[in-house]
Amino acid sequence: MAETPHPRSILRGHGAQVHALAFVRNNSRLASGDAVGFVVLWDLTTLRPTVVWRPHENAILGIQGWGEDCIITHGRDHKLAVWKISSENEAGLSRALPLDSNAPPRPQPWLLHLIEVNTMNFCTFASCPPLESTAQSSEPELLVAVPNTLASESIDIFHLPSQTRRDTVKSPGTNGMVMALALLHAYDRLTLVAGYENGVAAVMQLSSDSSSDNGIWTVTYKAKAHSEPILSLDVAPDHSYFLTSAADAIVAKHPVLTASAAQTSAPASSATATAHDYPIKVTNTKHAGQQGLRLRDDGRIFATGGWDAMVRVYSSKTLKEVAVLKWHQVGCYAVAFANILSSSASSAPLPGASAEKEGPGQDVGPRTGELSVKDRRIQHAKTAHWLAAGSKDGKISLWDVF
């Protein structure tokens, strides 16, 4: 881009800092959570709120979509809630923005689950679907990792919908509070990636005999790339590495190693000095305080929100800065990428359900031509390479980049 990029749009309406952002429901909605506990679902076609409610009494730490119509919110009021909001019942909910101080009370959407969790630190939850379904019901299942209720350096793993605690993973050493988490299945094992207050990033894997409820967690990787607390981390879509950002100016790229590789060199969790204790790459960006690090789902770029009000986009391969997005006047706390891979796949059958009946190849051209102005907009909203950044001033800037 030769010229300075400009945001496509600014979403105004939060009265307080925007702490969490997530594209949900096939990129058709952007969920944003602010420091006083409001969550707003924005329609990306009209760029207007469709649902506004206040799931928590205190700051929102994290938001994630779950399936088509569930939204998980994590607030500082020690609660993690799962809400069911489908596009049909959006209409019955309030759309008065938090800034409308004299709006009538906003109804709450349907609450599916509520787990009491620890939110002493600012660590948001992490989740992934379990590898094998344990419950007999057809309900979708989810594993959620949050810091432990008592010892905030340990991590609890809960299971939904049963709302039971599955595991508690202890910190490898004294690293201070857990600051950032990721939960995933790497090499068919449940893997937990955690960033700690002292700048340590660690990968822990559940031992292969996962049949037992209390499997053994093995530390497969542990490195201290940062001198300050880690603020955010995100795992690459192919689960081969993860990136961390911290209160210092460093962005580090760490490997996600196989448990076997780690085990061979250092059995048990006592391992401290192995060949795998070094990050793949460390870059000093010279801009301290970058948080909300997010990788795009194609794994090519990632972005961070800076306390210096800049949103920086980096190449995930080289960790080099490729763009600086400047609009906000004050620090940015949250960044989110729209899913560009799933969206392009999911939008294909959008024009008509009868796509299989007719030859798909020759049919695509005229169909796009026939799309009405509105359809085209919706499609654009879903397929655009959105980057959303939430800032301290309560505004969310939407960028269409890369």
Partner: protein, 1101 residues
């Protein structure tokens, strides 16, 4: 048999009628006439005869036959022989009779001899006898009748083979030739149109009835040249004649040169050596290929002249001409091959406009072209040349010429389409020609001065936008908008609408759009306009078809008008969006873009709503365009868009989508892409939406601040920015609820109250209370003694009422203090609980108010004034939160006070009001500031202003009030002067009263500017300020005295002033009034033993 019998009977009957007429007639006619009675008699007889024949013919023409005709002709022939002796009338009647004889009597059985005779006779009647000068001119009627008879004769002769043959016999040929000559003469020089028409008919009958090719061929040159001569001067001739001449020409040419006739000659052309001598007979001599060649080339010339008539205004002439063209193309296809192009061209031009009448015609050009492919080619060439010449024609000044050209082109292209002769070359040429043509028109249009002037603010006033009814939904024309061009425009639109198929139109439209992207200037405008019109046309076309057929599966992407519209619309959006970046864009281009937007909106309906994200703001910005036409366009566009998207009015459209507009404004302002128009739009948005919008505007305001930082050197621009800010402030100030949420901590009003006067009751109360207290104390003492202990707790609260509180009863006082104490403790708890944060609106207004201090010194007086007004508006809104408000006052005070000494009177006025408002809202907080200012400059300034006002009035009143002179006006006292309070009062009072009188007189006289003079106005404002100070701010006594001195003369007639001053010190006011001499002396009190000096009424000099 019976029929035969009846016929015979009828004949006999007729004969019986005729006989008594014919016998005397022949008797008279056979002799040369002698004397008038005989002639009259003869005339009567001829009339009778003619009448009988006519009646019979009308009743039963079959009763008449050639025998009877012969019988009747006999006397008539005598009449004709001696025609010179008879009056013209007689001859006419005889001729009429003769015509009837020919038509109904002889009919086809006419004898060749009679034909020859009559031919010569009639020729002589019309043209005179050759060789001898006609003694008298033939009358019109006579020639008419003669020609009519001639027509009848030749028609009759034509139907009889023998007669026809005899006509072209060698010996009669000269006579026939003479006849033709005479007829032609009548055609050309005919005295009346009737004669000419009849002559033409005669001519036509000659060519129809005479079958001899050679003879006709020999007449041809003369006939054609005469007819051409006639037709070349169409202005002189009647339409009827022209039509007749054209059809005659058609008959003439067809009868001589039709393919059937010339086939033999053509055959000879192909084998010229077969008969080298070529002298077989006379006809062969004439009808040689060489002759044909020469003739044809001459005919071409003649046709070229004749076909100029295609521009004729008369429909019948054009129809006739069209008929001629088609007939010639059909009948003389081979022979007149060289004329084909011109004929085809004319035929296309002359083709009837609507398809209905073309089916009536036997053959249309289309049919001909189907039969003869080369005609189609020729049509194509013609159309092509038209297309290429269209731009050139468009450059000409003649509008009707242009219209014709466009119309012709339309017909041509339609024909070509119908013949399915379209070619890519032709299509390309069409699109190019259209573009170039319109470019010329556009370029032409841009030269004209822009006349209408619409005030800029009109367009932006929300009033206009808010009105839901009577919306203008039609655009003023952008392209070809001149009065004279309107018809051309409609023709052009017609052409565009009908050119090609819908898919072709789409294709052209897209092509044009490509040009639009590449080109600049008028051609860009033209091509964009064209592409828009083409797409519109395609839509209107396809909508007809789509009602019946679902072609969506067949249609390919490229020719879908929807796609094309999308492209056109996308371009429009990009144009509108970039409006601020380059001012170079032709306004018409933007106007078209607006139209496109409106069209797209009207097509999409409510589905267009999301598009407003991109479109609404740019369109609205055009309301502030410097170009009046663009403003009108923008209004219309907004109306259409609002209606299409289902909003009841434009204001609703804006209010509902204000978030989009804020977004656009913010994004633009963030890049410092600010135009005066955008600030205007912001102002309008704010006004329409009201305070609800303010919380969302913080970053916009921040951008405005940044812009102010960057552009503070441009007063006008800064002013426009502040206009937006002011609107924000005004709206924000209106929303009390949004503004303050639990932060009210200042007193509700700073108004001073007069202390309650002490009455006897109060005294009684006081004494009672004292007594009570004494008793109480005694009781206490008693109890204390009784309890023998002095362990009374110390009082919980201070004794007595607070200093500033109005006095009430003691108990009330106690209760109140208790209540206050509770309040206080509650207030303390509030503070501990931490005050709720300022609302966004409050913060915003506060920021704006703080900002004003830096711009109050701006060189632009209007800005200074508007900033002062802004402060006036904002202070009441902000004042309830004193903790935030008082620092603000502190910040702005010095600059605001300095504005009092501004050079511009209206700024001074505003400053007075602003200061007054600050006094009202800040109250005693300003006491020390006012005091300092008063002794530094303000007091002096007030006196100066008063003096100025007085002087202005005295100047006005010099004649009416001569006694007040400048000499005895106010003496300016100094503070050092001992009798500060009294000196100005006493010294100024005389003049003050004079001023009062002068004012009254001045008002009565009604001369000059009076109270509207700037000095007077400033003084009024000063008075307002002083009143505000006195009633809301604590001031020291010396200053009060000065104020009183200044205002003394107003005490009497201005209750507001008096009340304000009396609140503080009623006695001083009374004394001032007494000094003025307006207080009636109180009655001298009478008391025994004491003598009071009587109070004198003081006369105010």
């Amino acid at each position: 048999m019976t029929t035969n019998n009846t016929a015979t009977l009828a004949r006999n009957e007729l004969f019986k009628q005729l006989k008594p007429c014919c016998v005397p007639l022949s008797q008279i006619a056979i002799r040369p006439p002698d004397g008038a009675p005989a002639v009259r008699n003869l005339t009567e007889l001829v009339e009778d005869l003619s009448g009988i024949i006519n009646r019979q013919v009308n009743r039963d023409p079959s009763a008449f036959d050639d025998k009877l005709a012969d019988y009747v002709f006999f006397p008539l022939s005598h009449v004709f022989r001696n025609q010179n002796y008879y009056p013209a009338r007689t001859i006419e009647v005889a001729l009429r009779g003769l015509t009837t004889l020919i038509v109904h009597g002889w009919k086809s059985k006419i004898a060749p001899q009679i034909v020859e005779q009559l031919l010569i006779l009639l020729t002589f009647i019309v043209g005179g006898v050759p060789g001898q000068e006609s003694k008298h001119g033939v009358s019109e009627e006579t020639s008419l009748e003669a020609l009519r008879a001639l027509t009848a004769l030749i028609t009759a002769a034509g139907s009889s083979a023998a007669a026809a043959a005899s006509l072209v016999e060698t010996k009669t040929i000269p006579a026939l030739g003479h006849t033709v000559t005479v007829v032609l003469q009548s055609v050309v020089d005919g005295k009346a149109p009737d004669v000419q028409a009849e002559a033409l008919r005669a001519l036509q009958s000659i060519f129809t009835c005479i079958k001899d090719h050679a003879a006709l061929a020999s007449f041809l040159p003369g006939v054609v040249s005469s007819l051409t001569r006639l037709l070349s001067t169409p202005a002189r001739e009647k339409t009827r004649v022209l039509v007749a001449a054209i059809s005659a020409l058609k008959v003439v040419l067809v009868s001589v040169l039709s393919d059937l006739r010339t086939r033999s000659i053509s055959a000879k052309t192909q084998t010229p050596e077969q008969n080298p001598d070529g002298t077989d007979d006379a006809s062969q001599n004439v009808l040689s290929p060489a002759w044909l060649k020469a003739t044809v080339s001459q005919i071409k010339l003649a046709l070229a002249t004749v076909l100029k008539l295609r521009a004729s205004k008369s429909q019948s002439v054009r129809d006739a001409l069209g008929n001629l063209c088609l007939t010639l193309l059909d009948e003389c296809h081979t022979t007149l091959e060289n004329c084909a192009p011109i004929l085809v061209e004319s035929a296309i031009i002359l083709e009837p406009e609507d398809g209905a009448s073309s089916t009536m015609m036997a053959t249309s050009l289309q049919d001909l072209a189907t039969i003869y492919p080369e005609l189609g080619e020729s049509a194509k060439v013609t159309v092509y040349s038209w297309i290429t010449s269209l731009p050139r024609i468009m450059q000409s000044a003649d509008e009707s010429h242009k219209q014709t050209a466009i119309r012709n082109l339309l017909k041509g292209t339609e024909l070509v389409t119908r013949l399915q002769l379209d070619s890519s070359t032709l299509n390309d040429a069409v699109s190019l020609a259209l573009r170039d043509s319109i470019s010329f028109m556009v370029a032409d249009g841009s030269k004209q001065a822009i006349s209408p002037v619409l005030s800029e603010d009109d367009a932006l006033s929300s009033r206009q936008l808010a009105s839901p009814g009577g919306l203008a939904a039609n655009y003023q024309l952008v392209v070809m908008s001149q009065e004279g061009q309107l018809k051309t425009r409609s023709e052009m639109l017609n052409l565009i609408a009908k050119i090609g198929s819908a898919s072709q139109q789409v294709k052209f439209g897209l092509e044009m759009l490509d040009y639009t992207r590449e080109l600049t200037g008028p051609s860009q405008v033209a091509s964009y306009w064209l592409s828009f019109e083409l797409v519109k046309a395609a839509f209107s076309r396809s909508s007809d078809v789509d009602d019946f057929l679902d072609l969506s599966s067949v249609a390919t992407t490229s020719d879908d008008p929807e796609t094309a519209l999308q492209e056109v619309y996308t371009f429009a959006v990009s144009l509108l969006d970039s409006q601020d970046e380059s001012t170079e864009i032709d306004w018409r281009l933007e106007a078209i873009a607006l139209e496109v937007t409106a069209y797209a909106a009207s097509r999409s309906g409510e589905a267009f709503r999301p598009e407003l994200i991109d479109v609404l703001y740019p369109v609205t910005t055009f309301l502030g365009s410097p170009h009046p036409r663009l403003r009108e366009h923008a209004i219309t566009t907004l109306n259409i868009v609002a209606a299409s998207c289902g909003y009841t009015s434009v204001s609703e459209l804006i209010i509902e989508n204000v978030d989009y507009m804020v977004n656009s404004v913010s994004l633009r302002m963030n890049t410092l892409d600010i135009t005066p128009a955008s600030t205007k739009v912001l102002t309008m948005m704010t006004r329409l939406t009201g305070s609800r919008l303010i919380p969302y505007l913080d970053d916009v305001v921040a951008s405005i601040f940044a812009a102010l930082d960057n552009y503070h050197g441009y007063p006008v621009f800064v002013e426009s920015l502040f206009a937006a800010l002011k609107e924000i402030v005004e709206q924000g100030a209106k929303s009390d609820r949004l503004l303050l949420q639990g932060r009210e901590n200042g007193p509700s009003t700073h108004k001073k109250h007069r202390p309650q006067p002490v009455t006897i009751d109060d005294l009684v109360d006081l004494l009672d209370r004292r007594e009570e207290r004494r008793k109480q104390r005694e009781e206490e003492d008693v109890t204390a003694e009784a309890e023998a202990k002095g362990l009374q707790a110390h009082p919980q609260r201070p004794w007595g009422p607070g200093k500033n509180k109005p006095k009430g009863t003691f108990i009330e006082e106690m209760e109140r203090t208790e209540g206050e104490a509770e309040e206080e403790t509650r207030g303390d708890m509030d503070i501990e609980k931490e005050k709720p944060p300022k609302t966004p609106t409050y913060t915003l207004l506060e920021k704006v108010a703080y900002l004003t201090q830096h711009y109050l010194t701006s060189p632009a007086p209007t800005l200074r004034k508007s900033l002062l007004d802004l402060l006036t508006t904002v202070s009441p809104a902000l004042s309830p939160d004193e903790d935030a408000f008082l620092p603000l006052i502190n910040a702005v005070w010095p600059v605001v006070v300095a504005r009092l000494y501004d050079g511009e009177p209206f700024v001074v006025l505003a400053a007075c009001d602003t200061l007054g408002m600050l006094c009202r809202t800040a109250g005693d907080f300003l006491a020390s500031r006012i005091k300092t200012e008063w002794w530094d400059a303000l007091g002096k300034w007030c006196r100066e202003k008063k003096q100025a006002a007085v002087q202005a009035k005295t100047r006005n009143n010099r004649i009416t009030a001569p006694r007040s002179t400048a000499g005895d006006t106010i003496l300016v006292p100094s503070r050092a002067g001992g009798t500060v309070a009294m000196t100005p009062l006493s010294s100024s009072s005389p003049s003050s009263s004079a001023v009062g009188a002068g004012t009254v007189m001045n008002r009565e006289a009604g001369g000059g500017l009076g109270k509207f003079a700037s000095a007077a106005q400033i003084w009024e404002a000063t008075v307002r300020l002083l009143v505000a100070i006195v009633s809301h701010v604590r001031i020291e006594a010396e200053m009060f005295d000065e104020v009183l001195g200044l205002l003394a003369d107003r005490l009497e007639r201005d209750p507001e002033v008096r009340e304000a001053l009396e609140t503080i010190n009623p006695d001083a006011v009374w004394f001032a009034l007494y000094e003025l001499g307006v207080i009636d002396p109180l009655p001298t009190p009478v008391m025994e033993g004491v003598e009071f000096p009587p109070m004198k009424k003081r006369v105010g000099l």
